[in-house]
Symmetry: C2
């Protein structure tokens, strides 16, 4: 176990990094690592058992419970990464804007004015978010050395979307109107959020996260020119502040096929690709050395096992064995997903990833 | 007025086509034509007045009312195209699957089995959909010669989505599960829908439509490899059946940035681009001669007028004055859009389109 209390600060480079971390850094790997977004969740009966006793926020805020549900999919499937169980809106709550889940997130007093932005606090993660850091420290002790601990935060635009709209939205017209009509207020909100997110992710790295993912889920609702003006500068500043040698930074969004080159400009180490852009196209556009994450269509897990195997293999071939790659879904796993499908996917990615590399080393992939 | 009763059959080529039709065919134009998806709608007070007396389906099914609301935005703004007021689910209703609006569309008996597919009828448009054809015939007489009459239908995948899910959906897991687990039933449904849509669009062309648009709105939820296997063959067959010389076929979907090359493979004349792919990128990928439609972010219409002007001009420059282009939004106009914004956009596209072309002809665009 590497320095469990200060993972990000004094990393011992003589102990080999977990497979997932090496893949994210473009180092040689023996097979393709895999984890799934929302892998701790409703599709697992053991998760539903915990949730039948405790509500969502209680699980997020109680380290022992959060640790338990984070570990559940690791025990069952042998994923290469364990992602902290939490919610992207936890730091928003800590900024002084109460969030409820009903079941989707709702904010009672949406942020609309300069005063609203000013009233938001910049929490000290070691105080207001200590339960998250404690969860990470316990996880880092409990996880096998070969499983990477992944921290995360919501992207500032995605958090702003909930904070301005007050709930999820179809068109995000309130947010976009603020952006176009009150750019000063909009950018003040984004700057505050970027600071909060940076503090939060840096604290997660200090607490032992071996990789971090920024879920900028909603950034895909923007045109490329708007992303460049209204999101990229803020994400770039977060990456600059958080970046720690040996701790890869993964940037993910949904429907971001038009934004990939701009996302790369953020300086993030790994770009997450959703299922609507082919890995071949992403590889072509971002270059052979760019670490990519993704991108199986989540609904394929409802298909017969032979189709799951076929699709997983197609992705491995498309992304290219030489190019750095972390296997994932193109978005979060859905609650009705059959467990056997997940088990088969993990087995298949590990086996095919290894077998295809061995075949290639011998001079021929079939 | 050109052969009002048989527009698609015996077109007189000596009378000049409307600007929009010429642009769709890559012919020289004096300026850039513009129309907006959902241009007859709630943002217009005169539309809201009609709807305060008649429900949505009554307006769709009563030619005098449908004609009136179709003409409202033409009178007000001077668009280059008038799109039939109707709903993509009208032919589904005629197939024997009742549709209600509540306010989103709902289907009481979703299609899930081979028997369900078999039970669907192939309506004769001249009988079950005669009110649509009558609306088009009246419109063709009433519209000024320079305004193109645009017919439309929903794409088979988009119709299948509503028919299988029973309502709109976040993940479309029922539809995708059918696709992966019961491909024979899925394709039977798509084949039936493709026939119905082809009959319907061909009848619209016969009734006077001078261009047709296939709204395959939901096709953007698919990965490129799934689009190729599960949608493209059906859309290609529709294009083949409907294509009529002089009547351009426009193919549009939302979130289809990953599918553009495949959409072009359908044989459609014009590819609609949503706001999430830049026109420059679409032009680069589809070639300098490909007629494109789009792609202003609909929320930009909530911005101050000078920003609307700036963005409209950016799109004209990005798509290139030499490349064929029809200006549109990247998706439907939203109900709260200010009327002044629409008026300004139309004026601006026409003026800039003309001015930039004149400047270019003189040897320099500034």
């Amino acid at each position: 176990m590497i320095s469990p209390e200060g993972g990000g600060l004094e990393r011992l480079r003589d102990v080999e990094d977990p497979l997932l971390v090496r893949a994210c850094q473009g180092e040689p790997v023996e097979t393709t690592p895999i984890w799934l977004m929302r892998q701790a969740g409703r599709y697992l009966p053991e998760y539903r058992r915990v949730r039948s006793q405790f509500d969502f926020m209680t699980v997020c805020k109680t380290p022992d419970l959060a640790v338990e549900v984070t570990l559940q999919p690791i025990r069952r499937f042998g994923f290469d990464g364990a992602i902290l169980f939490s919610d992207i809106l936890i730091p928003v709550d800590a900024m002084g804007l109460p969030v409820r889940f009903n079941p989707g997130p709702e904010v009672d007093s949406p942020v609309r004015t300069a005063q609203d932005v000013q009233a938001l606090r910049r929490p000290d993660p070691s105080v207001e978010l200590s339960f998250v850091l404690e969860t990470l420290r316990i996880l880092r002790r409990e996880l096998p050395a070969e499983v990477a601990l992944i921290g995360f935060a919501g992207g500032p635009f995605t958090l702003a979307a909930y904070m301005v709209e007050g709930e999820s939205s179809k068109d995000f017209l309130l947010l976009k109107s603020l952006m176009y009509r009150e750019p000063v207020i909009y950018h003040a909100l984004m700057e505050k959020l970027s600071l909060v997110v940076s503090d939060y992710l840096s604290a997660q790295v200090e607490a032992g996260a071996q990789a971090v993912q920024l879920f900028d889920t909603w950034s895909g609702i923007l045109s490329p020119r708007d992303y460049r003006e209204f999101v990229l500068p803020h994400v770039r500043r977060i990456v600059e502040r958080v970046k720690t040698p040996g701790v890869p930074f993964i940037l993910f969004g949904v429907g971001t096929g038009g934004l990939l080159e701009l996302m790369k400009e953020s300086g993030a180490d790994v770009i997450g690709i959703d299922w609507r852009t082919s890995m071949k196209e992403a590889r072509r556009r971002l270059g052979p050395d760019q670490p990519l994450q993704g991108n199986l269509e989540p609904a394929v897990l409802y298909a017969p096992l032979e189709i799951i195997r076929e699709r997983a293999r197609e992705i491995l071939m498309e992304v290219g064995l030489q190019g750095p790659h972390v296997f994932n879904l193109g978005h979060g796993i859905t609650p009705e997903t059959p467990i056997e499908a997940v088990a088969e996917l993990v087995r298949c990615v590990h086996e095919d990833g290894r077998r295809l590399r061995e075949a290639e080393a011998k001079g021929g992939v079939t």
